[in-house]
């Protein structure tokens, strides 16, 4: 039997993406599941908009985030909503999560952020190269007028 021309004894077991740049140089890229800190691309997630009780203005006065410690990361927590003047209002709180040790443990932090508005929504933003983020749960707490008129 003829011998093989090169090759490997096992598959590479990688998803490979061929790319070519404008200088006509080609590259092979991967999505690296050992690295969740893309240096070029940021990330954001907008949660459902909550009207709490439609027509009532609510106040959120703290946000609690549980996350898996994959390393130090900087995120921005934003509360946004609308007011009676039909304007969009928001409150922003940057924060650092995670540790250098990257314990992989689930950790919880309480964020002092407040916004009074209708149609409230929470979003979390991570800038490019701002670290790996893995959120397991988010809780918002607040108060709303419930009196029936």
């Amino acid at each position: 039997m003829a011998a093989s021309n090169g090759g490997t004894i096992a598959p590479l077991n990688l998803a490979l993406f061929p790319l070519t740049n404008s200088s006509e140089v080609s590259f092979i890229y991967i999505f690296d599941p050992t690295n969740f800190n893309d240096a070029v691309s940021g990330s954001f997630y907008i949660y459902k908009t909550e009207d709490i009780i439609c027509g009532r203005t609510g106040t959120i006065n703290r946000v609690i985030i549980s996350y898996r410690d994959l390393g130090v990361a900087t995120i921005t927590v934003v509360l946004a909503g609308t007011n009676d003047q039909q304007a969009i209002v928001s409150s922003t709180e940057p924060m650092t999560i995670g540790t250098v040790a990257a314990s992989k443990a689930i950790v919880t932090q309480i964020i002092g952020i407040s916004l009074t508005a209708q149609n409230l929504s929470l979003s979390i933003t991570r800038d490019p190269n701002a670290g790996p983020v893995s959120i397991t749960k988010v809780r918002m707490e607040g108060r709303v007028e419930t009196t029936v008129y």
């Binding site: 954001f44 991570r126 749960k137």
Partner: protein, 424 residues
Amino acid sequence: VAIQIKSDGTFSIEYEGPYAGLDVQKPETLISDKASPLFNNFMLRNAELRSRPAFVQKYQGPAEPFVTGISSFTDINGIYHTVTWSSGRNMYQFDPTLLPGNPWVFLGFYAPTPGNSSPLSFRAFANTIYYASIYTIPFMGYWDGLSISPVFTQTFSDASISQSVAGISLTDSPTVGGSLPGGPTIVGPIAIGGRFLGELNNQLILANVSIKDQGTGIIYNYPQTMWWSANGLPLQWDPTQNTSAGFNSFLDVGDQISGLLTLGIAGYIFRTQGISQFAPTGSAITPWEFDHMWASDHGIGNVLPWSISQYGPTGAFVASDNIYTLSVTNAQPIGGTARDAIFADIANVPTLGVANSPMVPFGFILPQYKAGYVYLTYNLLIPFLAFCRLYVYSFEDKNWEAWDLPISSNNPSFPQFTCAGNFV
């Protein structure tokens, strides 16, 4: 329900996975608390909201740029080969012993002429990788992992040579070619190629066929035609030599073939507005039974030629009205609550539907990103002028994510995709 309101007016809202993914088809106040009206570059795998894996360079690429296909196969000795084809006509093999230098070793020319910038269609069969294209000229070639170079010509018993391993001899060409639609006068030999290559019943199948009459240099296009090799003989495409080889043109449908899948006991020819099933009959002379699942002017078909992908018993493709998976039993829409966002983006691709342009969406199913990290997803890559958007559908969670990659179709600062990614 995520929101809890107490009688004193205090409330709490909790969000946790598993997530429902992108939902653009309801007002953002009415979507599930598991869904998001807009997010980017987060992955929802395993009920966590995690920044997606970094997209990074792993290796240098082949010396010849614009890779038009990447795949792997096992040769007859059980050795794995990872290969690429480039837009010129160079074929390369991955050699890990060359790392950290460029690991791609030139194997040889894979095509009779250079300039094949359209994605290739490829298929492993009998420990050999076969590949086909019709971009500059129609051809099919192969590499068995043993020989020094790939093979793309065939010499017949009458000493004529076709510029494709799927070919018809000079002697038989007038007869075979003359029976094609329109009854062209063919000198021969004939080189056969196809935009799509598949296999069923131990027969290689070319779909959306073109042939080159090497005697006159004329190329004839048959976008509604499927041509198959003889049973167990991937280099025999001549029905006058072996009756189990042959071709069929779907003249009764008005669209063209835009893809090919084989699932279990049947194959599926995708047209832009329909799907035609073919199943082996057991007869050598009439090896297939054809059934247009629908032959209406408009229907579920594959509108993006490179959006079809297959993983085991599941295929996925993009039709006019939704994104579908196709199994042996049925076609199932999967666009879900992200469908409108995906189709709005597809509509903004400048060269939509031009199969030979690199600026077309690519679809591909990935079982893993690397060994041990399973994420079975259908990925639809949509190119824009300044970036590419990858829509990721999780087969387990049945949700869609959007990932933007700073990769452009025409921005000089960034490289561009020239073919689909592949798990090798």
